[in-house]
Symmetry: C2
Subunit: 109 residues, 2 copies
DNA sequence: TTTTACTACTTTGCGATACAAGGTATTAAA
DNA sequence: TTTAATACCTTGTATCGCAAAGTAGTAAAA
């Protein structure tokens, strides 16, 4: 996993947003505006200016792919779905996240 | 807690380092080089170029204070300790952290 | 038919963080 | 007096999250 091994720890520090997005997309594909709503429902606020560049970044890394789909109302949507590489990354992130929780528990006893 | 209310959520996303540092200093005062070692022992790698500006920032926010102390071997040390304001911030961070864990659990079910 | 409203995707510029790398200064031992 | 060890500090760079503004497709109202 050269995508994540080197800097996954520092990435995790900077934000769990990637982790959240991959988690949602691991269950079902979605498009940006919908993703924003799903994350908001889970109490993780994210705005357009954050999520669009992030989705593009993840797509360029090969952890996401997308396809256009017509909408019955409004412009076409870019549906993102997780790739095999993305699923592997997600498993790695699970590990990192659980380690982070343990680290905090250790420090905050 | 005007220090954190506005952007604590986004801060938490960016890094749990502040949380870790306050957690350590909540148990006992410490100086930068020692803090780095304590954090490393808990699996949270941090380097000088990160921690010095961060400690100064926290001190300027009034959540930490420091005093100089002579060392038996080497130059004097800047011992940081948490303030009342810092302890309140730490309690708020506990809350944010626990909410973050719940959020992730929700998304990653 | 033109305007308005809504939805959706994109880009730009800013502030803040983490870090690599290099610098300053004190103490003690070789 | 040079070297090693310890400790604090600063500079420059990359990247993230976000506010704000822009582009564009669709449909309903005027």
């Amino acid at each position: 996993m050269e995508v994540i091994t080197d800097n996954s720890r520092s990435q995790m520090r900077k934000g769990v947003l990637e982790y959240c997005i991959l988690s949602v997309l691991d269950r079902k594909e979605s498009y940006a505006s919908s993703l924003i709503e799903e994350l908001k429902a889970a109490n993780m606020i994210v705005v357009e200016g954050t999520i669009y560049p992030l989705l593009i970044r993840l797509k360029n890394q090969g952890v996401l792919s997308y396809r256009w789909e017509e909408s019955t109302q409004g412009p076409p949507r870019k549906y993102y779905c997780i790739t095999d590489k993305g699923r592997m990354m997600l498993l790695q992130m699970d590990k990192e996240w659980n380690e982070m929780i343990k680290t905090i528990e250790t420090l905050r006893k």
